[in-house]
Amino acid sequence: MSASGQDWPLWEVFIRSRQGLDHKHVGSLHAADAAQAIALARDVYTRRQEGVSIWVVPSAAITASDPGQKAENFDPMASKIYRHPTFYDIPDEIGHM
């Protein structure tokens, strides 16, 4: 018995922490359907009050960027330092801006 068909589908779990931040990916689990995925995620990922809200998404529904294109996608931003406020000198007399 090694057919992957025997496993329940895989779900990715996202939790919003008590601090009210964005839902953050915390891990994955197998579940027969969405309701069960939520129930299991509650048992596995919130046993110490880690969250106040759970999202589950079928893993198969996620499209990821290609790791081979990492340099092409993300390296150009390294030279665009003018997008950061620290690029600009503000005279001391102006104070906080």
Binding site: M1, S2, A3, S4, Q6, D7, W8, L10, V26, G27, S28, L29, H30, A32, D33, Q36, V44, R47, R48, A64, D66, P67
Partner: protein
């Protein structure tokens, strides 16, 4: 350890240093301490080494619930029962985090479970020892979880992202395990003479098997060099074991318990405790399947898996039916709209 280097598979070692350009790029990433993620290129031997180590670790978490699980109904108070239940539930969660990390490498859960149940996969030798008294539950938390923490903290920096993240989550939960165990032993040594004796007798049974958890000596561990080069292993078996002995001996002294090793003594020159020879014959016997509880543990695992089968199948059938019903309803509403 939970990831005891015991199946000494030499095929995982690259034959020579003639690397392809992909391998060179991979090695450079490891050298820069970058994390390797599931969709990144990786050498097949890195993949298979990780699958073996992570799944072995997962199996250890799951089988590790059995020696403690039997004491949930016999815990001496409601408080201890709740604590033990929570601890054992954590271990089940650890198994899940780790199975999920292994699955990112392209194996399915059913294969991993099958490897365990058919005896192809190993789990930590420590869980093949019996829990004869309540003191053993204290000893497991204090010593076995304590040893697990020693091994797992460096794994939080492992080069494979999903494994490192699983370990961070696990380490956050382990400290409670060790402290509740210490608390049980501490309570016993302050109790009646019988309770103190119970703690001492338990320590005598668990001490050497705990030291074996760290795996063979470095000179006998063929995995260590490659696993270190790949950033999977950060500290060697012997260094971890020494670290464990160094922190545990003063704790035992505090508790007034005697570690069953006549050769144990502080070595001021080394700045470490010296300790006697580990009974490796026993270790290999247990690893190869002939420990006190190997058969019992596997039988309990397989029984639980088989008795849960109808639940898994019923849930899958229910989900399929609900999907079919939803699909039929959406077709019907489209037709009605047309």
């Amino acid at each position: 350890m939970y990831t005891q280097a015991m199946d000494l598979d030499r095929s995982a070692t690259p034959a020579d240093a003639t690397f392809t350009s992909e391998e060179q790029a991979f090695n450079a990433r490891i050298a820069r301490d970058e994390k390797i993620e599931p969709n990144d290129w990786m050498p097949e031997s890195y993949r298979s080494t990780l699958i073996r180590q992570i799944s072995q670790h997962a199996h250890s978490e799951v089988v590790g619930m059995l020696p403690e699980g039997g004491w949930i109904t016999r815990a001496p108070s409601l408080k201890r029962k709740e604590i033990l239940l929570a601890k054992v539930q954590d271990e089940g969660g650890h198994g899940l985090y780790l199975y999920a990390a292994a699955e990112t490498l392209g194996v399915c859960r059913a294969e991993l479970i099958d490897a365990l149940h058919s005896g192809r996969a190993k789990y930590s030798s420590i869980f093949n020892y019996p829990t004869l008294t309540w003191a053993d539950i204290g000893m497991i938390g204090w010593l076995v979880d304590g040893a697990a923490i020693m091994n797992q903290v460096p794994l939080c920096r492992c080069s494979y992202g999903p494994y490192a993240r699983a370990m961070i989550r696990i380490c956050k939960e382990e400290s409670f395990h060790q402290r509740q165990g210490f608390d049980i032993v501490h309570t016993l040594v302050r109790g009646t003479p019988e309770q103190r004796r119970m703690a001492q007798e338990s320590l005598e049974r668990w001490w050497w098997p705990t030291l074996m958890m760290f795996g063979p000596h470095d000179k006998d561990s063929t995995h260590t060099a490659q696993a270190t080069a790949w950033g999977i292993k950060r500290i060697t078996n012997d260094d971890l074991r020494q670290k464990f002995v160094d922190v545990t001996v003063p704790q035992a002294e505090y508790l007034g318990l005697e570690i069953p090793d006549p050769e144990l003594r502080w070595n001021p020159e080394r700045g470490h405790y010296d300790f006697g020879p580990i009974p490796w014959d026993e270790f290999w016997r247990v690893v190869k399947g002939d420990g006190p509880c190997n058969k019992e543990r596997m039988a309990a695992r397989i029984q639980a898996f088989e008795e849960g089968r109808w639940v898994r199948e019923a849930a899958a059938a229910h989900a399929a039916k609900a999907r079919a019903r939803a699909a039929a309803a959406s077709v019907a509403s489209e037709e009605a709209a047309a």
